[in-house]
Subunit: 177 residues, 2 copies
């Protein structure tokens, strides 16, 4: 990856997040990246190729997000760390805009790669099993579904209080006092 290639991706990331994929002209991306428009097509073939690069990066970063969770042995910690994922994707402005874009693209492109969360779902399932939940698999699936809902509110409803929601969740699962 050359320096200019990264600049293109950074600019596209920023503009797609703000304006959406279809609504962002390649000319604008090139301008913000400080490169010629033709270079985008030299490196990424077409606009969809640029999008693909961004989606792939999203997939990689997502795996990294829960990498340490699947290595965890303590059941309660697995669940607690999973819940706190929602917090880490909003740690700073850039992260938030990055993850918001990933969700936005899910809807725009009509994709939901269930395989990407499978390892996390398995870890959660085992954790719930250890904690004697009635149906550990469903409980795991439902918690991940709740996290999807949390993301929806977090990214679309400016008034949503994530901290409060996470706190309540942790109490509900008896993870904290």
């Amino acid at each position: 990856m050359t320096e200019k290639q990264e600049k293109i991706i950074t600019a596209a990331l920023d503009l797609f997040a703000k304006e959406g994929f279809r609504n962002t002209p390649t000319s604008k991306i090139a301008k913000q990246a400080g490169v010629s428009e033709g270079l985008i097509f030299r490196h990424f073939t077409n606009k969809d190729g640029l999008l693909e690069a961004i989606v792939n990066e999203g997939g990689e970063r997502f795996k990294m997000l829960y990498a340490d969770i699947v290595l965890e042995n303590d059941a309660k910690k697995i669940i607690l760390k999973t819940i706190h994922m929602a917090k880490s994707i909003t740690a700073n402005k850039e992260d938030m805009s990055f993850w918001k874009l990933q969700y936005k693209l899910k809807w725009e492109l009509d994709i939901y790669d269930a395989k990407k969360i499978e390892p996390l779902e398995r870890s959660l399932s085992m954790a719930f099993e250890e904690l004697k939940f009635r149906d550990p698999k469903m409980e795991a699936k439902l918690l991940l579904t709740l996290l999807d809902g949390l993301a929806t509110r977090l990214f679309l409803d400016a008034d949503f209080d994530l901290e409060e929601a996470i706190d309540y969740l942790a109490k509900k699962y008896n993870l904290i006092k």
Copy 2:
């Protein structure tokens, strides 16, 4: 509303759901509706006006969805009916495509009207209070957030089993055996 006006809305509903708002040309809408392209602008001023009509219809239909829930007195029934809302929006193909579009537009337009669910949230909150939940307000908010997650999975993940999820939820809340 004239006959052709309705045909335009129906076509737009269908195409926006399939291809997205920005990606659907007005020429295509006109063609599918069997009218001239100019008529769209005569009736809806511009493309955004057409979108507005659709979003407004979504708001109205959403209120109708939970109209009978807020009139319910039995706490358990309020919660159960709320959970079953997820099922009624997938009753048939047209409904499913309609509601999927509404969610899609939320992300494309970056809007989340929390006011629209407020009456339902209040009803739920009262129900949870009656059932002696620790923090009824948070519990209500969290259940609605879970429903947002359920919608995400339902509309994007083809393998998601809604029936199963709803069943498990109902048991979790002690609404059924």
